[in-house]
Symmetry: C2
Subunit: 243 residues, 2 copies
């Protein structure tokens, strides 16, 4: 009994070691720089042992995505619990995505990689379920804010628009904006100077478009942003230098 739990602990510890090693490799040399032989060498286990934990390279990526997803859910939950009007709390969600990108740039890159069907289709169903659970967690946190806005009277949605549709808009805008910033270093050359600031303004424009009060001209959301950084994410703000 106690031996089996010791075994289990060893297995878990090894899995963590493998993931940490893989993560460092991706961060250091990119996705292609991470390969199974190197992981085996770095962890001082044989390739066969690595393959007892993960069926293939893709599953390691999937596992890292799940870990990242869990970190993200955590940030979203904290953002959603910010003390303020619903739209301020939604602003906090936006801040958390910014922080996440700064804190874990490698992970965002991996998420994108994972969206490529070629990778996704080789990962076992069980991992996909876990990943889906983290997405659901994020969605729950965000939808909750939209619903609160509706019940508090800050937001009135037309009959044919569900709270989830508003979330989908903000999700698309943020995901797309961050992807473009990451993928196109030459955004400045097409006239988009301060992409990150532009993304924030666009998020507020979208909420303005749904007439989600208080409107951006009627409220100082820059002050809200500073308050979010100071009150909800002080450590993360310091770590990323966002102040």
């Amino acid at each position: 009994m106690s031996t089996s739990t010791r075994k289990a602990r060893e297995v878990q510890a090894r899995e963590r070691l493998i993931l940490r090693t893989a993560e460092a490799m991706v961060a250091e040399r990119g996705y292609l720089g991470m390969n199974m032989d190197r992981i085996a060498e770095a962890t001082e286990y044989s390739k066969g042992t690595i393959y007892q934990h993960f069926a293939n390279k893709e599953e390691i990526v999937a596992a890292l995505c799940v870990e990242g997803g869990e970190r993200r859910v955590e940030l979203f939950r904290r953002a959603a619990s910010f003390d303020g009007r619903p739209r301020e709390r939604m602003t906090a969600i936006g801040v958390s995505t910014e922080l996440y990108l700064l804190l874990h740039p490698g992970h965002v890159q991996m998420e994108q990689l994972f969206h490529t069907e070629s990778i996704r289709e080789k990962t076992p169903e069980s991992r996909l379920q876990l990943l889906f659970a983290t997405e659901l967690g994020c969605m729950d946190a965000v939808v909750g804010i939209v619903r609160d806005a509706v019940t508090e009277g800050d937001l009135t949605l037309p009959d044919d628009v569900a709270p989830e549709d508003v979330c989908f808009g903000l999700w698309s805008l943020t995901y797309g904006g961050q992807s473009l910033i990451a993928a196109k270093p030459h955004l400045g050359e097409v006239g988009i100077a301060e992409a990150a600031a532009a993304l924030r303004r666009n998020q507020h424009a979208l909420m303005d478009g749904y007439a989600w009060g208080p409107a951006s001209h009627a409220w100082d959301y820059d002050a809200t942003r500073r308050r979010i950084l100071a009150e909800t994410f002080p450590e993360e703000a310091a770590a990323t230098g966002l102040v």
Copy 2:
């Protein structure tokens, strides 16, 4: 002289053949299913000859992206020349992105692939320049519409918002939305039922947020959409069944 042009024609024809073959392979068996040996076999040229046209596999992807980008610019130009208010013309841009996704699903997948740094960093600068030119072409068409809206008085931008920033918002929203739709078959399970329709509504919400007139509640943009499909993209609409 005439021999050299004949040579040149042969080279061009072969390049087209290679690209068409590669495109079909990607469409049929995904990115990983496209490999140089198979291309050589299918085109009945040797691998060495293939490599005289393209330095590596990534450059083939890049070339396909350039081709796709040119097709996209073409669609954007036609959309921008739609006969109507600027916001209607911007709606036409949205329609054109929808059509493009339906007409060339494989290409959108490849664009995403290309955003992965691992691929990008292996493609020669010259191809990147061509790709950049197509992006600039798209941007020009879209920015032109925003400027027209400003000069015609339909849109008044704050001092700190450039027309490009508005474009960036719509670009992010559309790119992100289409990526999410493509990458997450389970959007329905998180409460987003009609993702494509939701994306259109979000695009209009964003424009509403910038107070770009006529507002969506003051204009029948569904009618505009039908007119765009009928007048500007009749063939494409028929081919995709969008009617």
